[in-house]
């Protein structure tokens, strides 16, 4: 046995241990993504087909249009412990139902004000327009959102905040 290999194996073991410990303690935010059938959901599929990896923190819920997302759904997600909510639809002007995304934008903006009053950070509710073919943007959005939420820590709405 030479010393070099031995020390390396010890270091590897230490590194693995550190990583395992970090995994236990590191906060993993939960993101609920409401994605429209025509653009954002398709973009998420394209991200898959193109194998653009992104953090597994996200859970997609497919809706026909962002215009069918009741603000109650978003509130429910936060109430149940989501750390972030993404509303993703077609670019303005590209809505399959003409104006659903414009209405969604108005509602999300109004809801943001309400959530702000309730003490929720602005970054936790995000609105994105993602083209049907833009898998890259979907993956990047999740990556970026997960990163920001990790820094923010658990949602203040969480019933039991583990610290």
């Amino acid at each position: 046995m030479n010393g070099f290999n031995l020390s390396r194996s010890i270091r590897t073991r230490q590194l693995l241990q550190v990583r395992r410990m970090r995994k236990i303690t590191e906060f993993e935010p939960r993101i609920i993504a409401f994605t429209c059938n025509w653009c954002a959901y398709s973009a998420a599929d394209i991200a898959g087909i193109s194998r653009f990896h992104y953090p597994a923190n996200v859970r997609n819920i497919k809706v026909m249009c962002t215009g069918m997302i009741d603000p109650g759904y978003i509130l429910r997600a936060f109430e149940r412990g989501a750390d972030g909510v993404l509303v993703a639809g077609c670019e303005i002007g590209d809505c399959h139902y003409i104006s659903g995304n414009i209405k969604a934008k108005e509602r999300v903006e109004r809801l943001k004000k309400l959530l702000h009053i309730l003490g929720l950070e602005d970054e936790r509710l995000r609105l994105e327009w993602i083209d049907a073919g833009d898998g890259r943007k979907f993956a990047d959005t999740i990556e970026n959102m997960a990163g920001k939420l990790k820094k923010l820590g658990p949602s203040p709405f969480k019933k039991e905040v583990k610290s």
């Binding site: 939960r30 819920i61 026909m64 429910r76 590209d94 399959h96 049907a132 073919g133």
Partner: protein
Amino acid sequence: MAEVRIGVYVCHCGTNIAGTVDVEEVARYAKQLPSVVIARDYMFMCSDPGQALIKSDIKEFSLNRVVVASCSPRMHEPTFQRACQDAGLNPYLYEQANIREQCSWVHEGDEATQKAKALVEAAIRRVSHHEPLEIKEIPVNPNTLIIGGGIAGIQAALDIADSEHRVYLVEREPSIGGHMSQFDKTFPTLDCAACILTPKMTAVGQHPYIDLFTYSEVEEVSGYIGDFKVKIRKKARYVDEERCTGCGVCQEKCPWKTDSEFDIGLGKRKAIYFPFPQAVPMVPVIDREHCAYFLKGTCRACERFCEAKAINFEQTDQILELEVGAIIVATGYDLMDPTPITQYGYGRFDNVITSLQFERVVDCVGPTGGKILLKDGTQPKSIAIIHCVGSRDQNYHTYCSRVCCEYALKFSHLIKEEIPDADVYQMYIDMRCFGKGYEEFYDRLSHEGVNFIRGKVAKVTDEAVTDEERGRLVVIVEDTLLPGVIRVPVDMVILCAAIEPRSDAEEVAKLLKINRSIEGFFMERHPKLEPVSTPTEGIFIVGCCQGPKDIPDSVAQALGGASKVLSLISRGKVSLLAATAKVDEMRCHGCGRCEEICEFHAPKVINKNGVMVSEINEALCQGCGLCAVTCPAEAISIRHFTQEEIKSMVDVLTES
């Protein structure tokens, strides 16, 4: 309500899912969830035995709900819904969990399995709330609209019309023919474009089942598959199509000239003109912008000489309303304007031209009568052909335009044929000869004395360093095979500019409610398996509007589009969307907010036994759900996307 009995099927998809997700664990997890009667994992759920498994389980275990965890529902939802239907289960009692595109392909290890479990659990919870929906069918209008009369639109029109079903072919320009009519020869066989295109154009013009609208544009599209309503603006030609005999005297006598669009500024045309000699229909157009009568109120030479009395200065635009069952979009492409790539000097140097301009130069009916000439009328002794101008370039378009390598080879052959001692330089990045007979064509050309220089051209300049370069163009290029920057003095430079989406592709996409992919071309429903369908039922895309293509591929797509339309017509009926809005009349106040917000005029407040309530027209409802969220009384819900369904998913997915 009967007891909910759910069957759950977790697909391995070979190793696509099972390689990442522990599918057996997912099935075990599903098995112990409430209402789940049976949970299995299987190699390929979409295969016949996979579907048979679902069907036999529905019978054996009296299942009344089915969940399949596999690929995206965009891929196989219809497959499994059909399997349910075959076993006597309403297809809306089915739910799919996407554990491939949105899980196994993008995540790894434990996280992927964990997410798959959550997605399956959410699907199970949601499916419990599903209700059987009635699927209504409506008849399909057997008429078809085709937008664009290039080779793709022409081919699709002929194939559909040959089955004796009416086709409305709408073309924006005064004649059909598209880009192909501007080409001289076609690669790799070198047969003349006009010789193979003209018979098809004539056939379209004479076909009893084709109504041709040239110089016309689609203004409005409403409705849905089987029953579209379309408004077409037929622009005023100022020539009576019925009376005109196509003799051409008007064009001959017209004293006013301007640049020809067909010859891309290289030649001239009159103010009243046929775009090219083989135009279909053979009816000229008066260009208001350049006609002396419209500008100054005098002249009328064409009117004086027209024996058929076909000139009509009073003609106005006409709006036509058509009803069709399906629409084929074949709007083609634009050639990129290389002016923004300033280093190549297009627009600054007279003898730097685009590939399409060169097609006009070599065409025997083109501005030079088929002679390859410089701007000053002399014959060039050396010509450089620059590949990938705006294609495969991070600054412009990252995609490959697919046809440039081959037509560049064709150009060298045509140049060598006319000027055997000319020096021809191909400046390429990679030669991509992918089609049938293309590599052989490349091989043939490499024996015809053409110089191939592998490297991306840095600059085209007129700054001479040596005597040889004086008064000529100099192409500066790094030869990557014989390392070093070289200066090539030439007389003419041809830019193989990129194929681009039409400049108005965005508006057309909005008009038809179809999507565009990232580079701006129209987007197909599936990149491999649904190349001509769009996410909007009843609308198909063929040819270069979907992406750069050569003629054989455009024609193949046109045939594909035609076959899609014909199968729709021959079935004669389509199913209406079942997941529409529904009103709880006990809750409805009849306030009319739904009526105001709906873009499709589906809800209407009516007087029902003295009470004002909203009623939804199911044929018009698209199921977008805008009214449901807007309703202050929460009286409207969307079938298949009810509050309970979405909330049940939210609950599961936030917690697991």
